[in-house]
């Protein structure tokens, strides 16, 4: 089906002027499993679009890059009224049931399986992919000091522990996401 024919080939503009120089800063401030993924997925999408991408890990988000915790982030549905079993709508699980012993462990296991079923990598592998893709990761100085952590404690791909003002400087002109 065609209604127009042109002589010069129509070619996707992969390096369109509006995309050059675009920069994205993502601040990851939460350490729950379900709050780690949005930042990682959006960062991955951004680098895949040729956007200069910076992630800043702060407060609970530090758990995402702390070697001791990054492979073991948890999901709790306490306080999450959107919790319902996969594939169901309507009847949910009361979120306060998430406070029962073992509930977090079970919910985490279920979420990890759902993520793996989509062939989405776990957190440590995701960090490696982001590093390989050229995303730059930065750790918050105050969070490191509060937790008595040094660069040796963090995932190797983290560029450095920097102050909030340093992060502001290096993300000048960037679009920003706070998660």
């Amino acid at each position: 089906m065609s209604d127009t024919t042109t002589t010069a080939p129509i070619v996707p503009s992969f390096d369109a002027p509006q995309s050059t120089g675009r920069k994205l800063a993502i601040i990851c401030s939460k350490g729950n499993l379900d709050m780690a993924y949005p930042g990682l997925i959006l960062a991955n999408a951004a680098v895949g679009e040729g956007i200069e991408t910076h992630l800043f890990f702060t407060f609970w988000g530090f758990d995402i890059i702390n070697k001791a915790t990054m492979g073991d982030l948890q999901f709790s549905f306490v306080g999450n009224t959107a919790m319902h079993p996969p594939g169901h709508s309507g009847m949910g699980v009361h979120h306060m049931l998430g406070a029962l012993p073992g509930a977090t462990k079970a919910a985490t296991k279920m979420m990890k399986k759902q993520i793996a079923d989509l062939d989405v990598p776990d957190v440590p592998e995701f960090l490696e992919i982001l590093t390989a893709s050229g995303a730059q990761m930065w750790a918050c100085r105050m969070s490191a000091d509060m937790n008595h952590l040094t660069e040796d404690d963090l995932y190797e791909g983290v560029e450095a522990i920097i102050s909030a003002s340093d992060f502001m400087e290096l993300t000048e002109g960037a679009q920003l996401l706070f998660i």
């Binding site: 024919t5 080939p9 996707p12 679009e49 989509l118 062939d119 989405v120 893709s133």
Partner: protein, 104 residues
Amino acid sequence: MSTTTIAGHEVDVNEEGFLTRPDQWSEELAPELAALIGLHLTDKHWELIRFLRTDHAAMGETPTLRRVSTQTGTPVKELFGLFPGKPAKKMAYVSGLPKPKGCV
């Protein structure tokens, strides 16, 4: 829907320029598509293009960068080197396939 002529082949394309009919693609066309986006195809490019074609035919959708990497054993960094900037979309374009729909 438009048509465009690439190296003498008339093909259907969408508004961005991606081929909309995978059957209009041929191995002759790939180097022409690649040249239009500034790429010269090496053996490694070809290995990936053939994977994309096979996988699309089998799965009914264009594989994501993650899938290309895991299924072909090609490190993500190498994919960015071969198809700089927007690897997933560039691979799809040269392979005559739609952009991948998956997020990761």
